[in-house]
């Protein structure tokens, strides 16, 4: 906002770039000096070359598209279920108490153990990955929506009721917007989880996708391939989450 802020932000950016570059140079140097064995840790130049080759030959896009598709469908389905149930239970305290132990129990199940089951149920294709992503996204969305609705300001609710709002109008004008803050702050986490779900699913059994690429590379002790896959994955998450941040800023523009 102030000039000082702007200056310190560019300083931070410069320092971040420097730190990243330093790590890469050190890594490269240690391998070149035979301190580290490239068989175990590969080297930055090889990883970059591999990614460039993927891009040039076009082999990357198909896998990336499969992973993104699985993540996106998982994110949307998980969000729809989580937000829907979160709203419903926040408005029905009795049901919320009935469901409470079961939801906590289900949430405590480690998702990785579900992956083989989902592969069995939904096959090697995209739907087993979607299912895994949903089990991760759902709970984050559910808990945040529930909290967001329960946290809505009493005075705002009373005021809107006095102005003549019906239950539906109350939800639309007060509860949904006030839950949005929570839902959007959890969207970042959910997005990460959705990709984790898709990639882990692909890793454990698939014929395409970034998780599949990484698992194949591991199967042949190709560390360069593993690191290249991880780098692409990380870059995609950073780009998508920057987009979500901008969307969030626009949707919550009334907050200063």
């Amino acid at each position: 906002m102030t000039i000082d802020d702007g200056r310190s932000r560019s300083k931070v950016l410069a320092a971040q770039a420097l730190l990243g570059a330093a790590v890469l140079v050190l890594w490269q140097a240690l391998v070149s000096l035979h301190v580290l064995d490239p068989f175990f840790v590969s080297r930055p130049s090889d990883i970059a070359a591999r990614i460039v080759r993927w891009i040039v030959t076009g082999s990357l896009w198909g896998h990336l598209a499969v992973t993104l598709e699985g993540s996106l469908i998982g994110l949307l389905a998980g969000a729809a279920l989580g937000i829907g149930l979160g709203f419903a239970l926040a408005r029905a305290p009795f049901l919320a108490r009935v469901f409470d132990p079961y939801i906590k129990m289900l949430n405590a199940v480690p998702r990785v153990v579900l992956a083989p089951l989902f592969l069995l149920w939904f096959g090697l294709g995209i739907w087993s990955k979607v299912a895994l992503a949903v089990t991760l996204v759902f709970f984050v969305m559910f808990f945040n929506t529930y909290q967001g609705v329960r946290d809505a300001d009493r005075v705002l609710i009373d005021n809107v009721r006095m102005l003549g709002a019906t239950e539906r109008q109350l939800i639309r004008h007060v509860l949904v917007p006030s839950a949005l803050t929570w839902i959007f702050s959890s969207l970042q986490t959910s997005l990460g989880f959705a990709m984790v779900g898709a990639v882990v699913g692909e890793y454990l059994g698939a014929t395409r996708g970034l998780g599949y690429v990484i698992s194949q590379a591991e199967g042949t002790f190709d560390t360069t391939g593993v690191f290249a896959g991880m780098t692409v994955l990380a870059a995609v998450v950073v780009i998508v989450s920057a987009a979500v941040t901008r969307l969030e800023r626009w949707l919550l523009r009334w907050k200063l």
């Binding site: 009721r161 102005l163 003549g164 004008h173 949005l180 009334w254 200063l256």
Partner: protein, 273 residues
Amino acid sequence: MLELDRVSRDFTTPDGRTYRALDGISLAVEAGAFVAIVGPSGCGKSTLLNIAAGLLSPTSGAVRVQGTPLAGINRHATYMFQQDALLPWKTARDNVALGLTLAGAARADAHARADDWLARVGLAAFAAHYPSQLSGGMRKRAIMAQNWMLDRPIVLMDEPFSALDVHTRQQMESELLALWEGDGQRSDARDQRKTVLFVTHDLEEAIALADDVVVLSAGPSAHIVGRHAVALGRPRDLLELRTQPAFVELYRAIWAVLRDEVMKSQRAAGGVR
């Protein structure tokens, strides 16, 4: 117009006991009257107003609006809360228009009416601002416009200006009176004015604004300990009023009653050991 008939209200405390906030409150407010309720903090003033608004139901007793027993939200009343009640995610215009929007008015109509009212309260230039971009006084003006635009016969106000600084507060009081007295001037009849029930802990504010000042006792089991007519002419000039002998005399008389209750509530709160 608005009548509370032996209204009592109990609450259950976290440890399961019953706490009686209000005890046998009987209060009649004639149409077009401005009645202020004063009392020590924590005496149940807001509870009383919530009951009149229909947001709370009395444990025993009844509320009548224009002779009809109140069930559910009081559709004849607007309610101005102590805290900010503008929706932070709506612009000033959308907030002011909200009452009409909820009633199903067309967007263009609601916005046109809202713009009229924003101009009336001096916020024409701020229609597209969000509440976080407005000052405290501006937010109160916007809320006042939101309420007054609905043109309901009863206006409930719960310490609406207590969070403002002294000068802004006096200005808002003047604007409130201008708005209220203005309603009556249109046809020169008092019953054209809105019926106002105004809760405050500030006796000066109560006398300056109201036709009648009702003193509530310290809680628990708060009850009415006195009702004083304010025989000051209208329209009132709030800047001059507070130094007039009649005002000072009234203040002294009512404070003599209120002071005891304030001291009781302070003792109950453990202020004096």
